[in-house]
Amino acid sequence: MKPDPDPCLAARRIKWLSRLTITGILLVLIVVVGRVAQLKIAPSAQLAGTQGARSASSPQPRFRGTVYDRKGRTLSIDKPAWLLAVDPNFYFEHGHERINDQDVALPIVRLDETLCRLVGPMALMQQHLKIERAAHLSRRLADQIEIESDDIEKALIESPASKRYLVLKKLLEDWEVDRVRNWIDGRNIGLRLDRRTTRVNYGPDSLAMIVGKVRNNGRGGSGIEQLLDGDLMARDGMLLSRRTAGGTVISVPQGSYEEGTHGEDFQLTIDLHIQEMAEARLEKQLEEFNAGGGRCLVIDPRNGDILAMVDLLRRRPDWEEAILDDPMRRIEPSLGRNRNLVDAFEPGSTFKPFVWSGAVQAGVGSTRPVPTDARGRIKVNLGPVPISGRRNTVKDAGINPYHGPLEDIETILVRSLNTGMVEMVRPLSDDETRDILVRFGFGTRTNCGLGGTAEHAGQITSLDRWSFANTSVSVSFGHEVSVTTLQMTRAFSAFCNRGLMPQLRLVKPSLESDETPLLDSAPLLMKRALPGAIADRTKRALGKVVTEGTLRRHAKSERYTMFGKSGTADLPRPGGGYFKDRHTSNVIAAAPYDEPRVIVICVIDDPDKSIGHYGGTVAGPVVKDLVDGILEYEGVSPDLETEEASDSSRLASGTQ
């Protein structure tokens, strides 16, 4: 049996063990604290560069709002893209070697370097090397992506030595990005791919004038892009984070994240398809009549939506052009001057319905009778009418030979008689005649949402300079007045809407309005120009213009009922006065007759008179084709029976 250990010895052993342990722990703690202090206070040179958290800022790019057309097709959008750039300095110093290391080396370059040291002037030899290296990079890049190697080579050679960032290609396709990445393969040769956003526009050139352009600084520079810039513009966000030297995020301090906002999207009332259709048709007509330019505007009379707005200019060799040129549109279509907005024209007979309806409303032909013969027929169209105080007599156009008195005042419109219009305004005071124009909105901007103060308000003579002989008479057949296509369509819509004119608009109202829910197809505002009954009476007369009058031959649709009016005015001379043998031909019409869905106006400037110059002949076919095309596209059933339509309806009903 073993004796029990000495209790005192055991206690001493425990005591020593405890002291040893405590001493050990203290030593370890002292070492740890010392090491921490050393790392904090005096780190080694190797650690010093990587120690501590770093702040890193990451931009959060946001996109500018998208612009859509009436049916949701994109007109203008921010496209995420890549840009290829090079650090020329780095490439010429080091990067070129890394290409050669991987691929076939350029012995010529190395040989030249040797020669350079031995023989030639250093500057010359360095330039030679630069050329060799620039050519090498441009050739290799051209093997990978679609790029003009000559341009790249030139840009590289001409880049100053201090330049550290040279853009090689602004917009790379996805496959090009992949090819460049594969080719670089992680090597640092001075090339870099940077994220960027580019604004892409769709649609024809004539649409660019409406949608406009975004400048390099991301701000709208023209058109809708400029007009709605504040809402379309995006606000980039920013993320500030604290990271380790290795890049691991440690924290995102409070308030250091700014989300940013995408720009607001907008929908225009323009229809891309109708715009293309109108541009193509107008262009064809300008060619056919060798005209100097043309304007075409299409609106929906129910709500004032502008569906298409085309303006074309055509320069003719060996022709003394009288139409103001617009060189900017040849440089960049979006910077062009949209003449639908900023230029007014003299409408000629197209203006007659407005004065005629206003005169009828004032009682002309009823309470204020016009001169009649013994049989009660209206005494007009008997020959040139002399007006006291007027320079020239009022004559009817050559296509309206003098036949004698008329049965009713509607015939004045149907046959477009200048002599008849004189009798329509003769009973009216100057104030009354001028007021007709004002009520139809002539002389005031349409404020359609584009152009702002640049929009032309047209011109009507002030009352103090107004006279019956030279103003009322001239205005009655569309002279001594200038209007825009926008004003004409707005005023003409009164005949479609029983006297009401809608506020024209180019931007659809937002459906997210806090106010009363608004249907995007509803008009914003309707203003009365005429009583409904007078508007309907004018519409009936204008219907006869298409079936019996000046639009019968060239502008009558075979599928849809229409009503409209043509006009031919003398072309103004740039220095004042008018050309006697050069004209502005225009037609305005709406269809279908019962429920008009579309108003089309076409103005053709300075057509070749040897081919044709009357409004109905020159502009009529454009209006007719557009009415047919647009209503078909809109799904409006033809309201005129044609053989083809009858066949279709018979097939649909299953009868033979």
Binding site: R73, T74, V249, L272, R302, C496, N497, L524, E632, G635
Partner: protein
């Protein structure tokens, strides 16, 4: 005494360890949040790219090319025109807001 000391040391060690684990988890969470944020940003960018592709594919020229390629006889859908009733319903000179 030794047991107390050991217990205290173990407790302190455990607390320190837990704090370290907690700190590591916090870093991982922040890292994950940043990764997810980056993913959301990437998806937003991708969505914009897809919008651009839709825009390119729905250009009238593209659609016309597709129609002519397939030789389909496309016709627009017939719609019943909506009647403009505002002018009929009111004799006011200005309608709207």
């Amino acid at each position: 005494m030794f047991a107390k000391l050991l217990t205290m040391l173990l407790a302190l060690g455990l607390m320190a360890g837990l704090l370290l684990v907690n700190r590591q988890r916090m870093y991982e969470t922040v890292g994950e949040r940043i990764r997810l944020h980056g993913e959301v940003e990437r998806l937003k960018r991708r969505m914009q790219e897809l919008k651009v592709r839709v825009a390119e594919a729905t250009e009238p020229a593209e659609i016309n090319a597709m129609i002519s390629k397939n030789k389909d006889d496309w016709k627009s859908i017939r719609v019943t025109p909506e009647r403009v009733t505002m002018a009929d319903a009111s004799d006011e000179d200005v309608i709207g807001r």
